[in-house]
Symmetry: C2
Subunit: 442 residues, 2 copies
């Protein structure tokens, strides 16, 4: 052990220095605490890369010193030592602490990690999805994976900032509901005391109900879908970023959604995101978009009720080339293909005042102007074969005065996935739920 | 109708002015949009109080003008008119637009409200709880009720600000879980594809699992309790504000929780909250607190494992008198009364490194230093009669290196309830869930 003593974690010893702050402590003695990210054994000299919430630093355990229990990867350590400037030829320009290193004097292992089931020290974590998720509590520690959820946190913050800038009030909406929100898609049933209840498919109806209260609202809410699907795009439990706004016209809504999308993604740019093209976003009706697909890409999809996945890819390619924009707004989807609350275009009621925002080849947002007239809304519910009695509290909001209104919604995990170019939406959820897995495999 | 024409809502007419901005438009013509809050019929002259998201203004419909359909309460209106200064004797000092009024020239009713089931124009909304909730989409519009959820939005913002100041990363945790989180309390079962799953009782285990990833994390998450309880304090679906922090000692945790509580509640102070006493918060162990209850209030509860409700009231009375603080921190509850992850005090293991924060007579926060050693945690799970196999993903986080850590949790609705002095926690949830109600009565 020679000069290595136990460095007690408890009070009375040195105060902890965050790793990034070591840059200001050259020549001083510090104590750092963190995880061993990488261990390099160079014969008699041992190097550790130690990580805390502020950053990563190289720790040198000098020649001639023997450790009975040399720290291993993922061990939690407290290290006391001197901050040294590295020789110029050994500076690592890729990290903010690349000009310094710590020469260790005391090392304590606060928590010993079990032997790792795979290498965590590489730049990439090259694992198949099932393994990535079977060891989720471990794999989340890899710097590349950590960055995904740093980006996600930034997207959340950016969304809230953009929503606040619009004057929206934050609301907390329930997830336990009495009926299927939007009809159609499958819902999860709950044993609710002596009754049946369901998990909400979206915060849609509640955010609308709050328009007469705050006029402009936003919520970050859970959305559950019981679709027995194993595609790369579906989660059983997802997160929605929702905005709803009163006293608006269709064009305002398009302005707002584009403004929010741009602000939100600018927040994520620092976290491994390939530079986004923020040119003026082109707007096309579905039919114009389909005409363009025919003209530019030679596929005649003009009878389709929606864009095909390839259409979305091609439209974004076109938008990037012609408008220097990674986004395209597509409007006026067929009314019959949209939920009951969607406002038909008065000029042409088989099309609706609806919109999707495409980003790099996929839809990341959808929304619409809503039907705000009580009678029209009741008729729309009935026309879809649903019973207005199941929408009693929702309809109450319209019965007592509802202005023209509309809104939109992002899928948090989908946005995270596409902005980072991930292959599967499960990689964009800390603990993804699907039909095969709730943390562990079912 | 005389001078009153239809004021088209669609494009091409005047742009809308927010009501509060009318203060800067004296003598000018404006268009405002909003809800009729109050209507006063003074013989031939008609007054409307019109409300939008920015505020409220008095609208005068001059003598001699007849409206075929005079707007009623909760009608959505667009009104064009001139902004006039009020005569000095008619200034209303209670509202920011009290020095002005609008003399209406055009009025359009965009959405007609049905006849109200009760008076919405009073300063208070004096309804029994069942009626308040049966008409929730309507009653939320009352200014007093609106303010509750403005305060709640401010608490959310304040919490996030305080958590960010501590360096916490925001995380999104799942609500669908494979087993009961903490044992004990009853859980909601879900039909999860061909399996059984449950609604999470708290984000506790997930936030702990993220400590080795980001060291400091926060989350705003749902918590579900299937207790068949109809008390004023329980919701089936509640919202938790959670923080978890690595590399901390017990005293740090106490500092952090008090810092977060104070910052958070300062954000709410603008919204109908009686001024909070922010003196230095006294800290007492449970036993010291019980001694104090005996000495000061004459009740010998020293054998109780927890504070009684009256103890909480009295302790807060004492803290306010002696320390000018609306808060008291109570620590060291019996280990056996706390969840399995609670760290026993090494000096006296039958008591734990746990804490509650009391505010004005009730607990609004609880938390603890956690067991961070894998073996000790497994034993603690087993000692509660639970099977570590059901905690596989959770335990994985401890298996691969977990620092000393701890955290705490506020109940959003409880905090909102107590900071505003509401009688029932249901009043602090936009759409409260309990065993009798999911929006409508079951």
């Amino acid at each position: 052990m020679s000069s290595f003593k136990l460095c007690c974690y408890d009070a009375g010893r040195m105060e902890r220095t965050l790793i990034l702050d070591c840059n200001n402590k050259i020549g001083e003695k510090v104590k750092i605490c963190g995880w061993v990210q990488v261990r390099r054994d160079h014969g008699k000299i041992l190097f550790l890369d130690v990580l805390d919430r502020s950053g990563l630093i190289q720790v040198v355990i000098p020649i001639g010193v023997k450790l009975i229990h040399p720290p291993g990867v993922q061990d939690v350590v407290c290290i006391e030592g001197k901050v040294d400037k590295r020789p110029p030829n050994l500076v690592n320009k890729n990290i903010p602490t690349g000009e310094i290193e710590i020469s260790a004097e005391h090392i304590e292992v606060l928590s010993k990690a079990a032997e790792l089931p795979f290498d965590m020290g590489g730049k990439e974590l090259d694992l198949q999805l099932p393994t990535l998720l079977d060891f989720r509590s471990l794999t989340l520690r890899h710097p590349k994976i950590k960055e995904i959820f740093k980006a996600q946190a930034a997207i959340l913050e950016g969304f809230r900032k953009a929503a606040s800038d619009l004057g929206c009030t934050e609301i907390v909406v329930p997830t336990i509901v009495a009926g299927a929100t939007e009809g159609g898609a499958e819902v999860f049933k709950i044993d609710y005391f002596d009754h049946k209840a369901y998990l909400s498919q979206s915060p849609q109806l509640y955010k609308q109900m709050l328009v007469p209260v705050y006029e402009r609202v936003f919520t970050i809410a859970k959305a559950y879908r019981a679709e027995p699907s194993v595609t790369t795009r579906h989660l059983a439990e997802a997160t929605q970023l929702d905005i709803e706004i009163g006293f608006v016209e269709f064009e305002d809504l398009l302005d707002f959604l584009e403004e929010v999308a741009v602000k939100m993604l600018k927040f994520a740019e620092d976290f491994g995101v390939e530079q986004i093209a923020f040119g003026k976003i082109p707007r096309l009706t579905l039919r114009k978009a389909q005409d363009l697909i025919l003209k530019e890409f030679g596929r005649d999809n003009r009878k389709e009720k929606d864009l095909t996945p390839q259409d979305e890819v091609d439209l974004c390619k076109w938008a990037l080339e012609k408008h220097k924009s990674d986004f395209v707004t597509v409007t006026h989807f067929p009314t019959s293909a949209k939920p009951f609350y969607t406002m038909p275009d008065p000029a042409e009621p088989e099309y609706s005042l609806s919109y999707d925002l495409l980003f790099r080849g996929v839809e990341i947002l959808s929304g619409s102007q809503r039907i705000n007239d009580y009678e029209q809304l009741v008729k729309s519910i009935e026309s879809r074969g649903m019973d207005p009695k199941n929408f009693e509290m929702y309809l109450q909001a319209f019965k007592y005065g509802m202005p023209p209104e509309g809104g939109f919604s992002f899928g948090l995990e989908r946005v995270t996935m596409h902005v980072l170019g991930l292959a599967n939406v499960r990689e964009a959820s800390l603990f993804p739920r699907d039909m095969e897995r709730v943390d562990v495999r079912l």
